[in-house]
Symmetry: C2
Subunit: 210 residues, 2 copies
């Protein structure tokens, strides 16, 4: 198996394959942010990345394959969690990271394009889910540490708390169009921390309530 044929993510860093992948994913991200998923054209990406069309088709096969690899690369490149020693400030760091990403002109447009594509393309929907799974697993230990410190109740669903921090920010991006500023991020973190402390994310709790 040649280096070109190894699966993305297992390539030797700094090799030709890694350089080709980086150039193609950068071009794919630019094209997505500019024109959306529906106008993603592998021949155009090959031109932008200065890579042979055959290489690109052989390795990524389809726009959905390319977007899946782009999301995997974004997950690998994305920042590690911040640990501040307290749940509220950890969640605030997470919320501000999401807020910065979604308000960055290129990244915000890219996420909108991928989320729109995921509503009708199952492969893109899977790739998007994998991206968020990785990000949620990265940040979940902040909540587990808060459980150990006794800040939030035993049995708190750490993944659900992390999702709760992001949800209001995506709601603004995709639905309400309200401003996505730092105050909004801080409020999302505070709401999630307050609800977690109050036991709203304890697993299995809702099934017995009322």
């Amino acid at each position: 198996m040649s280096a070109d044929e190894t699966a993305a993510g297992t390539v030797r860093p700094g090799g030709r394959t890694a350089r080709v992948r980086a150039a193609v994913l950068r071009a794919a991200g630019d094209a997505l942010a500019e024109h959306g998923f529906d106008h993603l054209d592998l021949a155009d990406i090959a031109r932008r990345a200065d890579v042979g069309k055959t290489t690109l088709y052989r390795r990524w096969r389809s726009p959905a394959g390319l977007v899946a690899d782009l999301l995997m690369d974004m997950a690998e490149q994305s920042l590690p969690r911040t640990e501040t020693g307290a749940l509220l400030t950890d969640l605030r760091a997470n919320a501000r990271l999401v807020q910065r990403t979604l308000t960055d002109p290129r990244q915000g447009a890219l996420f909108k394009a991928v989320i729109a594509a995921a509503t009708c393309d199952p492969r893109t929907a899977d790739a998007l889910r994998r991206f968020y799974d990785i990000r949620i697993r990265e940040w979940a230990p902040c909540v587990e540490q808060a459980v150990s410190r006794g800040e939030v109740p035993d049995g708190t669903d750490s993944h659900e708390v992390i999702r709760a921090v992001s949800a209001p920010l995506y709601y603004r991006l995709l639905i309400s169009g309200d401003p996505l500023d730092v105050a909004t991020a801080d409020r999302a973190a505070e709401a999630a921390a307050t609800a977690a402390r109050g036991g709203a994310y304890v697993r299995g709790k809702m099934e017995v309530a009322h």
Copy 2:
């Protein structure tokens, strides 16, 4: 001005214009749910609704115009709020209504299609915002009554509490793909109520914190 030329929303209920509008919007909703916004074709809608193409083009002009009117109709037709006398149970009624809507096969597909279209069509984005403005204004009094009863602090942003109930449900629909069941709805309501009681949605608070 003939009845056919009056603006949508001002027509005499039960008249021919209202019947035409109902048939066209039903057909538009079916087509959106089946094929998405990108494949919305006014000639196809006219056929499905058994309405002349000229009438349809004159009155709605474009797929975006048709979707805007469909969202206005959905907002007008949607259920009024439930008032139970306590914030948690009011918000739970709201969350369950959103959950039922988003998991209904036709309605869920329709919302996904419209939200995807709104990411790249400003007119659809405006129409979507107006739809949620109407729904949020309908439910906000539940929070205002909770303020009057002393359940949540003075200065609580009622609109933000209502958005917070919906946000985790839309996050699951569009992003994580996790199941959207009644327990999820109940948890979204409990988290929003707990955070509201703890003062997380008090206006202007975040600007002075830390």
